[in-house]
Symmetry: C2
Subunit: 351 residues, 2 copies
């Protein structure tokens, strides 16, 4: 089952905030509903956001009656801007929005624009499924039978349309018969690791052990894991933006001599930018002062305490052993290998 | 106000599981009640456990009528063994129990044993207050006006009888007029950082910012902190046992070139042992699968997922810049400086 899809003029998606307690499909009938779903992380994960962005442009073309073509065009441009502002760090959301928007604006009638927008958004979703498969095929070569792998956040089906990036690589390795054990960081403060990754892996019958983020050090020290794999929200010239805590895992991996892999589609690359150019989204204090954002009965911190809650961090490329993409695995030196794969759109520097 | 004390034949203590929502005093009328309070972390923190252990022996001498002296003696020995088994990693609990037990067993009558036990336990509490003060006086020299300090867990009044160890050092530095900013790791899974440390520092008017444990890396990368200070549960020949996550902070500090300090009374040293000799307490799965152990309505992980939940980790001494004790600050090489201070019971290798 796809985790996000277009049906009956709506965007339908698995409401990730309800997991693991219940599997519910959320219907977004207009851009406001989708923007809210993105903001409260009912849908999250860089590749899923790319698809959501594309479907959002399609939604905007249907959300009212338009008197003429220009009214429609200015409406979808304006709504696209609103949608893009919901999550500033992941580049993929904007990539999806821009792609469907520019294609749709070529349409010559209201009907044509609507048709193009839905088709193009569906195409992004189809492509995501395919590129995840390719990514998994390349990436699984880095894993051996008996490996034990540490990961953070959720990079599985729920973060994409179907297969997953970092978790997709593990799935692909398992699918070809390798026995892989996963240690999943719970991923505070929103627990995508415990709520989503543990749930997906259990469903797949893959051996998973849940730990708190602060246990990554002891797990490496005791030799309980021998590799680390994470996803990415944006890859720039000097670093990888990903879920908060990734940078810490990369330093721990270096100290313990473990390989540290990033798995991400090429749309995650924003090669014109550097770490200093990217805004890191800071989220609300309620994520840290209540035991759960949906459970505001129980305070786990003084209500008036200052909170610093960045949703992402940036890991310099020097800590990263390899980047797995749908075009192949990229190894250092990245200043050569990444432009190579991006410009040629061709085969990877290795595998 | 002391956080644990003897009154009316009971051990009274602040129930730390109720904070920050309410400040409640728990009365333990017998060893079973105290053992339960220790197990569920109503009282925790290595120095507070030393005092609790001492009071526990005193409690055991009162919890029933004894027909003769031998019955009393064998009863308190048996109860001491039970009490010591509640938390295996912190050495201080056993130290407090042993100290009061051996003193009490010297008594020649039921009345005398009861009197000695209470007196000796009260003496431990008094000494803890004094040694924390000394520890703070030595330690504050390591901190300068304008410092920003990262810490984990709770090492303040609540972890001791009154002043605190690592947090006591910060308090002492602030008391002499230095402006110190604190970043407190929330300390999953039981949130001693957000529930207790943030609460204590806010009460004291010390500038505190709460972060998730996974944010320690970005906080160092952005230069938001320039020093790290933590407490300890046991210090052996080759490492420091402390709250899970400490080892990760030590590696991060090394990578960012920041000093990493440990503050602990001399009773924390267990110099005959090595890291491999110490059992690391593993706690229950419910701490990671529910949003809060007191709030079992809300699952944040699949109910049947495997969990690894060590309460402590061990940080090799090579990562530690200095150890602050009530006899002075100890610097490397520790294989010389620690035995020096332990054997001579004298002045520190420095300050």
């Amino acid at each position: 089952m796809r985790t996000i899809f277009w049906q009956d003029g709506c965007v339908k998606l698995i409401d990730q905030t309800k997991l693991p307690e219940s599997l519910e499909i959320l219907e977004c009938r207009n851009v406001d509903e989708l923007a809210m779903a993105i903001k409260r992380l009912a849908v999250r994960g860089a590749p899923a956001l790319e698809v959501a962005g594309g479907y959002g442009v399609a939604l905007s073309a249907f959300e009212k009656e338009f008197s003429d073509l220009n009214e429609l065009k200015s409406h979808i441009v304006e709504r696209a801007r609103l949608l893009a502002s919901t999550r500033p760090t992941a580049v993929n959301l904007s990539v999806g929005i821009e792609r469907v928007l520019s294609k749709a604006l070529e349409g010559d009638s209201i009907e044509e624009i609507r048709r193009i927008a839905v088709e193009e958004a569906n195409r992004i979703a189809d492509e995501d499924v395919k590129r995840n498969e390719k990514l998994g095929e390349f990436g699984r070569e880095l894993f051996e039978d008996g490996d034990s792998v540490l990961t953070i956040c959720n990079t599985g089906s729920l973060a994409t349309v179907y297969w997953g990036t970092a978790l997709g690589v593990i799935r692909s390795a398992v699918k070809e018969g390798k026995k892989i054990r996963v240690f999943a960081c719970e991923t505070r403060p929103l627990n995508q690791g415990s709520r989503l990754t543990a749930w997906e892996l259990l469903n797949d019958g893959i051996d998973v052990t849940l730990i708190a983020d602060s246990m990554a050090g002891i797990v490496m020290q005791k030799g309980l894991v021998n590799k680390v794999i994470v996803g990415a929200d944006r890859i720039v010239r000097d670093g990888v933006f990903n879920k908060i805590g990734t940078y810490t895992l990369a330093i721990l991996a270096k100290e313990h001599g473990l390989p540290f892999y990033v798995a991400a589609p090429l749309t995650t690359f924003d090669w014109g930018k550097e770490m200093k150019d990217v805004e890191i989204e800071e989220r609300g204090r309620e994520e840290l002062i209540y035991c759960h954002i949906t459970c505001k009965r129980k305070l786990i911190a003084p209500e008036n305490v200052k909170v610093y809650n960045p949703a992402f961090d940036a890991t310099p490329l020097k800590y990263i052993s390899a980047i797995i993409t749908e075009k192949g695995i990229i190894f250092p030196p990245y200043e050569k290998s990444i432009p190579n794969i991006l410009n040629e759109g061709g085969s990877a520097s290795s595998t």
